[in-house]
Every structure is written in structure tokens, then in C-alpha cells.
Amino acid sequence: MTVEETTPDGLATRAVPRELDWTSVYRDQLPRLYNYFRFRIGRDADVEDLTAHTFEKAWKARDRYKRDLSGFSTWLFSIAQNVAIDYLRASRRHLPLEAAGDVATASTPEDDASKHSDIARLAQLTAHLSDRAQELIALKYGAALNNRMIARITGLSESNVGTVLQRTVDKLRSQW
């Protein structure tokens, strides 16, 4: 019995042994999850917290992971989605103190450099997109998942995922 799992490039699937090697799972999934939150949230400090929080939740519940029903990535990113939603919901209710600082004071040179980096620019642009489009961008280019995996996680059809992503990238390209 094997479990379907994505390869590191996220574009193909492979069969992995039924008994998962959790160390290699961690090694494989950490960059995906980390970059998913980078694309989804944008703030590096919070990205680490959210990545750690997601892994801890998954590690605690890994005995309940139903490996026959879905791939590990699907399961892990379902948890990550919930973590991200909770985070974003809380952020909307309680703006962090740093947000006030952004208004009151000028940016530091480091902040400027960061804001002008590509990822910061992307974050600015994606902030105006719908939640669904932001989610798809994060899953596709942050987590490097293929459209099939994204479809499983989001509940959309595979073709719908492809269409939405294409339109979103076109829109970002026009604004870049």
C-alpha cells in the first residue's frame, strides 16, 4: 500500500511507502509550508510562527491522519489553511502595534528594502485580490503544489483552479 505524495517540485506525484518517515516528511514539507505562509501572509516573523504552529498541530494529530483518504500534503495544507484563516481573522480584529508605527513614523532603510523586494511587491498586489485568488497563488507558487493537489485542498475543480490562476497571474502581470 502506498500513499500519493507530491515531489519536491510539486508538479508530479510519486508513491511513498505506507509507513511515513516523518523526518523526511518534515524536510520535504517545511519549505512548502514556509513559503505558503510567506505568499499568503507576507510578514516573515509571523510566517515562522504560523509554520511552527501548523507543524505542531499536524504532529500532535498525525496518528489520526487518514492516509487512505488523502495525501499527506492535502492533510497538512488543510490544517495550514485553517491556521491562516484564523490568523487573518484575528489580524483584522486586532491590528498589531507595529501597524500604528507604520503610520506614525517613517520607514527604516531595512523596511524600505524589504518593501521593495519582489515578494513585498507581490504581497502588495495580492492584497487586493480575493481570498480565493490569494489562497490559490500561495498554494501554487508558495507551496509548489500542482493543480490537482490544490483542487483537493480547496474543493474546486482542477480546471477551475487552472483558470483562476491563469487570470490572477495575468492580472498581477499587468500591475507589476
Binding site: W22, T23, Y26, L30, P31, Y34, N35, R38, F39, E48, T51, A52, F55, E56, W59, K60, D118, I119, L122, I137, K140, Y141, G142, A144, V169, L172, R173, W176
Partner: protein, 296 residues
């Protein structure tokens, strides 16, 4: 901007973060494993101690003053022809058991079906104060061993209620492990196997010494989550009686396993499971509907 550009925006997590998180996850895992190992080791020590104590008991006198004559003859034949093994290797004899005589079959059947109904052994907490060494001379040998098992109730529980419940869960998981081959035999998923039945009976007998102890302290006021019904403490004598009956069933299974009589073995095995169900129906929330699931 294209796909390649967007993929290039990905970056590796900081090594320090990756290492710290991995260490944290490993610590959490190890803590769980350690807790589980501790419980298992404690259980194994308890089982080993119980087995040693059990097998050090005097060889049961095959003739008792109040057992029916067929039982006396049958047991006498079992214990005389093939002395009760007292060492672990002898528990699993290399040679197949000799065919049982009609006397033996009759005796075991009587043991299974009739003796309990006729004798109606009184089980009270006061009667449990007698250890096998001090049991009255005229008590049936099997009864004295069973009384010894049930006398575990007097050793008292220890630890918090939550710890007891956790231990109980582990205990019943082991019970489930032990009885799985028997279950497969009864449900015809596996052929009847006297050797496996004998092994299971031996293990169950050893484990049985712990059972009263695991239900000794009244946990109702603690609020700990458990499927154990209040009846365990409210109807203590009845509960102990169930344990008593179950241990008798296990003893009968042990005897039947040596008889080389498949129908008899199946009957004895079924009786063991009936003992499980009987106790679950009375003392576990959900009764025996969730048979097979370990319950605290």
C-alpha cells in the same frame, strides 16, 4: 512576470528556524513515546510479577472435597498425566497434547456448564481476604487460585484517577491484543489452535491479577473521563463476581486447550468472550456493543 519568476520568489526557511522547530517536534514526540513506554513497561513488570507469583502457587490439588466426581477424575488425570507446567518454556509444549479421554471431556464440560450453576460460589469481599496460602484447606484448588486473582482488589490502587484510567486503557489494549487470536478462531477467520489458546489463557490469567486493582479507587468524584459505570463501585461484590467468573472461564480455556478437542475448545473460547460481554454490559458505558475497543 511568469510562473518561473513566481517560483523563484520561494526561499528556504532559515536553517536555525528549521532546526529549532524540528527539535521541538521531536521533543514532543519523545515525550509521548516516553509516557507510553513507561505505561507499557509498568504493565510488563506487573505481568511478569503476577506470572511469577501465580506459578509459584502450590500445585492445585486435583481432588477437592466439594467438586463433582467427574471433575475430580478429569482434573486428576490432567494433573497426574501431565503435571501443570510451572516454567515458561513448558507453557508451550513442543509435542501436541495427547487426546483427551472421555472422562476428561466430561469433566471439562461439567466444569464449563454445570459446576457454576450447582455450586453458586459465594463471592464476598470478606472471602477475598484469604490469600491462597491461608485459604481453607477444603476449598477447591481452582477456586483458591481464582480467589488469589481476585484478591488483587485488596492491594489498593495508587496514583491519580487520570493515571489509573490511562493505565487501564493500556491494560485493555493489551487484553485486546491477547484475545485477538481467540476472536479470530471463534469468528472462523482462523482455525482453532490449541497452542494459541493455551498461550492466550496463560497471558490472560497473569493479567487478571491486575484487574481489580485497576478499578479499586472510586473515581466518580474526580471528573476524569471514563466509560466505567458507577456500578463498579456501587455494586462491588457483583463486579468482583464478574471478574471471578471470567477468571474461571480463562482457567477452563486453559484446560480445554490441552484436551485436543476442537468443539470443546471453541466452546471454552466462546465462554471467555461471553465473560467479556457480560462485564461490559453491566459495567461499561455502551456495553459490549463496542466489543474489541479498549475501554478505561
Amino acid at each position: 512576470m511568469n510562473d518561473d519568476f513566481l517560483y523563484r520568489l520561494r526561499t528556504e526557511p532559515p536553517p536555525h528556524f528549521a532546526e529549532t522547530l524540528k527539535a521541538r517536534l521531536d521533543r514532543g514526540t519523545k515525550r509521548t513515546v516516553r509516557a507510553w513506554h513507561f505505561g507499557l513497561i509498568a504493565l510488563l513488570f506487573g505481568t511478569a510479577f503476577a506470572m511469577m507469583t501465580y506459578w509459584k502457587q502450590p500445585v492445585p490439588a486435583p481432588t477437592s472435597t466439594n467438586a463433582p466426581a467427574p471433575i475430580q477424575r478429569g482434573l486428576a488425570r490432567v494433573f497426574a498425566d501431565k503435571p501443570v507446567p510451572r516454567t515458561e518454556p513448558a507453557l508451550l509444549p513442543a509435542a501436541p497434547p495427547a487426546p483427551a479421554s472421555e472422562d476428561l471431556k466430561t469433566a471439562v464440560r461439567a466444569l464449563l456448564e454445570e459446576e457454576r450453576a450447582k455450586r453458586q460460589l459465594p463471592v464476598t469481599l470478606s472471602s477475598l481476604s484469604e490469600t491462597p496460602a491461608t485459604a481453607s484447606a477444603d476449598s477447591d484448588a481452582d477456586d483458591s487460585q481464582t480467589a488469589f486473582i481476585v484478591s488483587g482488589a485488596l492491594s489498593g490502587g495508587y496514583g491519580t484517577p487520570a493515571y489509573t484510567v490511562e493505565t487501564r486503557l493500556a491494560y485493555f489494549t493489551v487484553m485486546e491484543w491477547i484475545t485477538k487470536p481467540l476472536q479470530d478462531m471463534v469468528t472462523q477467520r482462523a482455525p482453532m489452535d490449541a497452542k494459541k489458546a493455551q498461550t492466550a489463557a496463560t497471558r490472560l490469567m497473569a493479567l487478571m491479577t491486575m484487574m481489580p486493582e485497576l478499578f479499586e479507587k472510586d473515581e466518580r468524584a474526580s471528573g476524569v473521563q471514563t466509560r466505567t459505570r458507577s456500578a463498579v463501585w456501587e455494586q462491588r461484590a457483583s463486579f468482583v463476581h464478574e471478574i471471578f467468573e471470567f477468571s474461571r472461564s480463562v482457567q477452563a480455556l486453559s484446560v480445554a486447550a490441552r484436551s485436543n478437542d476442537e468443539p470443546l475448545l471453541k466452546q471454552a473460547t466462546t465462554r471467555v468472550f461471553k465473560g467479556c460481554s457480560s462485564c461490559h454490559d453491566k459495567f461499561r458505558e455502551g456495553g459490549s456493543r463496542n466489543a474489541g475497543a479498549a475501554a478505561p
